[in-house]
Symmetry: C2
Subunit: 404 residues, 2 copies
């Protein structure tokens, strides 16, 4: 008898018919004799509606009260899901995050899980129930209701799987798993059978929107093996786990394309200590997330350099304002912004033990006439900035070069 | 500095504008320097919607899960009400029933309050907050969420007022208070300044739908003085409290008319011990609420009697089925049902010390040609069953006779 944690997101529980489908899927799993803990999100649209109500009253509502408000979303789903299991004659009990023993810190709307005491979960499992836990929520040691922020239900599932020492944690979503590339861009992209935490993290950070980095990091930290799979069919998904020696035989796990990037170049930045720090401090204080940063070598005797960096496209206007305010102090000549770029990345732990990966990537790009604007590398990732118009062609070429 | 508990029902918090109105009213009270605890219901329509969702899944959903589901209704309102107070710069904190320390028995969907440990309420009050408590809900000693059933939010307010030793408990509703008669029937009906618990109980049981008997009984048991008043204006309401000597100077507090009654007469019931018991046991087991029961004296030598009783009109069909199944065993001849009746009652603690009250009532009815079909009396109430078509005329006549 295995213990399985299954998580279903807002779309999978978006109406009562879909909740019945989830129940049928849980029932099938339980028919094999396994114990099942189900984690569910709020029905899609519910959280947005609650936020809208609060903002009708006040533009910036208090965060403790927002947690009190939003926690009702998941609480509604767990009760309905339990009823849907009862309708199939399966004993089931719902638990709020608090009741499931999920204790968090007191940072409302983005609380961190401090510990889990799953006494109640065990009690109801041992009595033969499917236990349905509200995702995204917990309570502080003092009994205040908290929520975990974006991706919080995935985190609940993975943290519960860890605390319960579950045999398997399944994250059900609307895609079949993690792919070697976005199948809409690369028709011969393949679903991966497995991927390492680090690869998954790089892909999550690269705009492959399967899961929030935070949940993957938590899984990595506590060694929780999980599977990302579809709630719409019975296909096996992608197993996310600790890197194995075997994984290194594959050079590249996947190729990703992020078309939501923009580039800013600061021309003739004085090549003096502290200037770059001043610039990026101002950018950071405006909560603008900078990704790649490239600085050219100093221009001969001019004592000046060019600095380029990428950022999320929606932050471009805000960044220009910040830079305008910094220009006099930092002493650079000009701000050149470009929106027509994209970022292409290859990810794979196999890079560590294979040489010539970068060369092979650049070559495959050159063959289809794609010019490389910026380059950035990490141990298991190579990213390049290229022309937005060439993005789709480029991702196909790189995918063919490495993944066929 | 007084401590005031204010309760607002579903209509008073039916949308965000109304919630803002509630906040403004609470703010006014607090501006006088008083501490305020607010109890709110679910926004009108919300509970019905949740019930509809559950019934889409299963006709008879599990009661524990219904409590889990319905408790979200009040939780939504408390958060929004706290935010509405914040918008007026008033510190406010919301608490679920569980957080407010409302401990109940484990009878889901109609739990009874076992005790209240208002530690958290005191803590947040002492820190200068308005405390907003979810009505209608609590939790068992084992941490299961429960709801209190119909009228539960009134009960929460009165029980909290008792536990907190509040100086005043105000039940805000859509009427100005308790009237001497239904103003839609009797244009010169007057709002009462005060009424005793017992009188209020008799009126509640008689279809004057201001409050459920249960909350009044609780208030009586624990001596909680409360005021029923309108959330739409600033008029003083009706104070409900223990009977005082002064109250007896008024003979009749109010007149009520219940047009939702039907009458069944069982003809020629064998006049033997146990027959009536058998009949009313069957009726009771079908959860049919019987009000007045009248048995005529035995018909001479026939050894048979007639039994008449009143019941809620919607139960009539069910009652006929039960009686049909009992007829052979109980041995009565015939079931005669009448829907065209109504019940007129006068209520007042002053009846105890005033004589001739019944005679004066019957006389006032006779004067307008109303025939009396059944009579039933208690210490502080006289009820008569009359022709439905004469109901309105009769209630006016009796009101004029006693209350002008």
């Amino acid at each position: 008898m295995a213990l399985i944690v299954q998580k279903f997101g807002g779309t999978s529980v978006g109406n009562t018919d879909r909740i019945k489908n989830v129940a049928a899927r849980v029932a099938k799993c339980r028919a094999k004799g396994d114990q099942v803990v189900v984690v569910v999100s709020a029905m899609s649209g519910v959280t947005d509606n609650l936020i809208k109500l609060a903002k009708e009253i006040m533009p910036l509502p208090n965060e403790r009260e927002m947690d009190m408000l939003l926690a009702t979303g998941e609480q509604t789903t767990i009760a309905l899901a339990a009823i849907a299991l009862h309708a199939l004659d399966i004993p089931a009990v719902s638990l709020t995050g608090a009741q499931a023993g999920i204790v968090t810190d007191g940072v409302h709307t983005k609380a961190k899980i401090a510990n889990i005491s799953p006494k109640e979960v065990h009690k109801f499992l041992d009595a033969g129930n499917v236990v349905i836990v509200a995702g995204f929520q917990g309570q502080t040691a003092e009994g205040q209701i908290t929520t975990l922020g974006r991706g919080g239900s995935d985190l609940t599932a993975i943290a519960l799987a860890s605390a319960l020492r579950a045999d398997l944690c399944q994250i059900y979503t609307d895609v079949d798993g993690v792919y070697t590339a976005d199948p809409r861009l690369v028709p011969n992209a393949r679903k991966l059978d497995e991927i390492s935490y680090d690869e998954m993290l790089e892909l999550a950070g690269l705009g492959a929107k399967v899961m929030q980095s935070r949940s993957v990091e938590f899984a990595k930290k506590f060694g929780v093996i999980f599977e990302v799979r579809s709630s719409l069919n019975d296909n096996p998904g992608t197993i996310v786990k600790e890197e194995t020696a075997n994984m290194e035989s594959v050079v590249i796990r996947g190729v990703s394309l992020d078309r939501n990037q923009a580039k800013i170049t600061l021309a003739q930045v004085p090549d003096q200590p502290g200037v770059a720090a001043r610039i990026f401090k101002a950018i950071g204080e405006a909560a603008i997330n900078v990704d790649m940063i490239v600085q050219t070598a100093s221009h001969g005797t001019s004592g000046a350099t060019d600095i380029s960096f990428t950022l999320d496209k929606p932050d471009l206007l805000k960044a220009r304002k910040v830079l305008a305010a910094t220009q006099l102090d930092a002493g650079f000549k000009e701000v050149i912004a470009a929106e027509n770029i994209c970022k292409l990345s290859i990810v794979g732990v196999g890079m560590r033990s294979h040489t010539g990966v970068a060369a092979r990537m650049f070559e495959s790009l050159a063959q289809v006439g794609v010019n490389i604007d910026m380059i950035s590398t990490s141990e298991i990732k190579i990213s390049v900035v290229i022309d937005l118009a060439k993005g789709e062609q480029a991702v196909k070429a790189v995918h063919t070069a490495f993944l066929g």
